[in-house]
């Protein structure tokens, strides 16, 4: 029993991230509207970013900004222990991923506007009918 509780405490975050990821995937597959699909894609993306960032988290560690010595005149005797600070590497990778995601989101929106201007609809089934009429 205690083993099960330990497993849940250690892993429940990952399970919820996977549920979130699957919500995004379902929206991408099953939704009919192109904008809904894009929102689903963004949810999927954010869930993966959340997973990445959570990998870098350490219990009992602080923010990845070195404390004290604010002018940055080298480390005068103060030894920095890696266990005291959260892993900064996943944050770096994901920070750029967020900005690129908004740029691609903008391009996707531009494509949506373009599709609407030509076919007067964003629904997938109606688009298929319009395309077969041509």
């Amino acid at each position: 029993m205690t083993e099960l509780v330990g497993l849940i405490v250690a892993k429940y975050n990952f399970w919820l991230y996977i549920i979130l990821m699957m919500i995004g995937l379902y929206a991408m597959i099953a939704k009919n509207n192109l904008m809904k699909k894009l929102v689903g894609m963004n949810i999927f993306q954010t869930a993966i970013i959340l997973f990445y960032v959570s990998i870098g988290y350490k219990h009992g560690a602080t923010l990845p900004i070195i404390q004290g010595d604010h002018g940055g005149h080298g480390t005068h005797g103060a030894v920095i222990h890696a266990a005291e600070y959260i892993n900064p590497l996943p944050h770096v990778l994901m920070l750029t991923a967020i900005v690129v995601s908004v740029a691609t989101f903008g391009v996707a929106m531009a494509l949506c506007v373009r599709v609407y201007r030509r076919y007067q609809t964003l629904e997938e089934d109606e688009l298929r009918i319009r395309l077969s009429e041509k």
Binding site: K36, N42, L50, V53, Y57, L63, I86, H91, I98, V113
Partner: protein
């Protein structure tokens, strides 16, 4: 970090995600997606990823919502599902 905060915010995030893809109005989707992004930013701030949280607060909850609203303005609010 405090695990109740983490769990409560995560639950809200999942509710927002489900609501954003089920609501039958694209403007509603835009606003719910903005709320989703903001809660996500809160989660990252709790996790200690301050830079990522800052980026998400300005990018996800700000500019990407504006893009979505602008695209809805130029297309239609209607959606079947």
């Amino acid at each position: 970090m405090l695990w109740p905060i983490d769990l409560i915010v995560l639950t809200f995030v999942i509710f927002c995600a489900v609501a954003a893809i089920t609501v039958k109005d694209l403007l509603g989707t835009a606003i719910l997606f903005s709320a989703y992004s903001f809660l996500m930013c809160l989660l990252w701030a709790v996790m200690g990823a301050v830079d990522v949280a800052f980026t998400e607060a300005s990018v996800g909850a700000g500019v990407s919502t504006v893009f979505l609203v602008a695209a809805v303005f130029r297309t239609s609010r209607r959606t079947k599902d």
